[in-house]
Subunit: 426 residues, 2 copies
């Protein structure tokens, strides 16, 4: 079945608000195995809204509209939909009562315009809204389903989750399942060329790549008559991806972020971490602290943007700063080792770089970054060259730091396992 | 002139990402005085993308498309647009050189699929992309303008700001000027009720409010026959806003962010700053370090997520942690004072709170945050209650911290000026 999402509201067209409802609805519909080929945003305008619905009716089975159900004159989604689909608006006594109760509870009198929200298209399924006064509505007309939802996300989401989702689930006949494979340390075009042969022959399951900052997510989606069959289709494809990308895959779990995978790795190996950042100014620490419960592994973070702070806080040597300058492999190394001494953390990450827009030289251009990672005293420093704005360079640096952290911890343990471990650098 | 915004990407249709590009482009187009009646999202599918462009071409003068310019097989926006508007794709040597340089700088070889990005529609204006490999493109065909931009916001925004905005500005026949008034420390609905009378009678200039995390931007836009006349229309409205919001307005400059205004305030008063963060884990420091040249004022930042780190790094007393718990006004105070002693900064900010999703109690619920700010030894601590996810609570906290920083510095100097200053708390 095909669904189309229509968001109604001049405030979206003017860019006053970001259309998070469409993303929410799209994700839910995808999880239901509904195909969605278009999302449209249209203003509170009868003519244009009618045109939009006509078009959507011609290419989809289910129309989900959000917004424009409120009490004001601008709100005309329900009126327009009822007119197009040939339904009269009738009084709904149940909704009238709920509106009355809603206002009473807040010690307010119902203003006249609010009664408009108790008019519903004849024959519509009325979805009680516990978080506002406009109910959700479902019309079934000539094999088409039209679902109207209020615009505020705090009303739309509970209505969808509690009422629309089960309604749609009962309607769908096939099962769609998908699995994500999250890759770090390999660029999007490299990922693409490494799986071009797989993409070329894909049909069911399908394979799609999604570029995130510094990461690539590959989504494998299968359609089948049962969940078991769908998962059976997905499995060999995911295994092949694992085979090709090995340790660059940090998770195949939808919910797990890169920072979560780092924290999990530290937890699993009973390691603590501290960070020391210059150009990222706390972003690496902040990213790790996205993970609830990180306090078990995170010891302390330091932001030493100036040279003076690097010396004073961390004991980076004046002579090193002078000889190599602050953005150098040597300073990254001393930072990683300094924070290790200072906090006794098992693992430390250090970052120093030139985020720009100024401060670059021919020899040390904007975008040059050194990241150091020390695992139980073994320090590795990598040099990077990033492009873009100050913010983009810093964001790329954060992902590179987490990727290096994973790599160093994994290397450390694999070398220990193979007996060439601890003494190698001593 | 009428513009239509088309976002291309299966990841938007699947709800994998929120369409922030459309909101950004919509706001910018509104500021340019362009009318926008529809936004559409369509997948990476030639047939449907063609249909969407045909429809848009019939109802708008300018089409802005984002996404689908990358190197992968999925990316077909440029190819589809060129075909529909009858333009051949030709090699652009300049872009080839840029791609080569982009990869060389990173010490990488250009993979074959990347060369696709150096093909451009014949006669198109090529917009160099400093943050990626796909250039922006403008085609002018039969009175219609088709603008193609890469999907990653870090590439799209600088391209639009630097190249598309001036291009569109030159195209419009009337003069539209707008000025933003950026407000912190006042909620959106409060801002709206404080200027409801102004909004009710608005016509030219128009007044629109934009809610950002923890901030509200009010945009005043005037249309006139000359720039001088437009600015003359804007001025009294902005003055009235200044009159109503006073020091809650941190800037009326488009380019200035909240963190920039904080850094400017510190620079102007020759003050240095250090930070100490628990639940925000470095986000406050990272936000300040967004500002180039911040090293003149930023001394050091500490991330002490655990109680142990709060004690060890900053000297918060064990007894205080025990008596008041880590999330308390007293601990925020000791943190602000501790970092002040430790780093000798003139101003310090401290943050401690419960970002969730776990760790809340009836007495100290998720979302409870204390922020301390010390200016030359005078410490103020504020209590906040934020709603939403762990990330949303942390983001709200960062803005509240910067808002408090401004307020405390301004208060300090206004009291000194009026002679009730330094001794008040001693």
């Amino acid at each position: 079945m095909i669904v189309e999402i229509i968001s109604v509201g001049t405030e979206i067209l003017l860019g006053n608000i970001v259309n998070t409802n469409a993303a929410y609805l799209a994700e839910k519909c995808a999880a239901l195995g509904l195909s969605c080929y278009y999302q449209t945003v249209v203003g509170d305008n009868e003519k244009r809204l009618t045109e939009t619905m006509k078009l959507a009716r011609g290419r989809a089975d289910i129309l989900i509209l959000s917004g424009g159900l409120g009490p004001t004159q601008d709100d005309l989604t329900k009126e327009t939909a009822a007119k197009l689909f040939g339904r009269k608006l009738v009084r709904d006594p149940h909704t009238r009562e709920r509106i009355q109760a809603y206002f009473k509870k807040r010690g307010k009198r119902v203003t006249d315009n609010n009664w408009k929200q108790a008019l519903v298209p004849e024959g519509a399924i009325v979805l009680d809204n516990d978080n506002g006064t406009a109910p959700g509505l479902i019309m079934e007309v000539n094999q088409k389903t039209i679902i109207l939802l209020p615009g505020p996300p705090g009303e739309l989401k509970p209505l969808f989750e509690g009422k629309v989702y089960p309604y749609l689930q009962a309607k769908t006949d096939k099962v769609i399942r998908s699995q994500v494979v999250k890759i770090c340390g390999v660029g999007e075009s490299m990922v693409e060329s490494m799986i071009k042969d797989m993409i070329d022959v894909q049909k069911n399951p399908t394979i799609a790549t999604y570029a995130k900052t510094g990461e690539v997510h590959v989504r494998v989606t299968a359609e089948a008559d049962s969940e078991k069959h769908a998962l059976k289709l997905i499995k060999p494809v995911v295994n092949e991806l694992k085979n090709r990308f090995q340790e660059n895959i940090y998770t195949t779990n939808e919910e797990v972020t890169l920072e979560q995978s780092c924290v999990d790795l530290l937890l699993a190996n009973e390691l603590t971490i501290s960070t020391m950042e210059s150009c990222t100014g706390g972003m690496v620490a902040a990213r790790l602290i996205n993970v609830p419960g990180v306090s078990e592994v995170f010891k302390a973070g330091y932001v030493t943007y100036s040279n003076k702070a690097k010396r004073k806080v961390l004991g980076v040597k004046q002579s090193t700063l002078k000889k190599y300058t602050a953005v150098s492999a040597k300073v990254a190394e001393e930072m990683a080792q300094g924070v290790s001494l200072l906090t006794k953390a098992d693992v430390t990450l250090s970052v120093t770089g030139i985020a720009g827009p100024d401060g670059g030289t021919e020899e040390k251009p904007v975008g040059l970054v050194y990241i150091g990672c020390s695992v139980k005293g073994r320090t590795k420093v990598m040099e990077y060259h990033f492009d873009g704005s100050r913010m983009k360079i810093r964001e790329s640096t954060v992902v590179a730091a987490l990727t290096l952290l994973r790599q160093c911890v994994l290397e450390y343990f694999s070398e220990i396992t193979f007996g060439k471990g601890k003494n190698k650098k001593n």
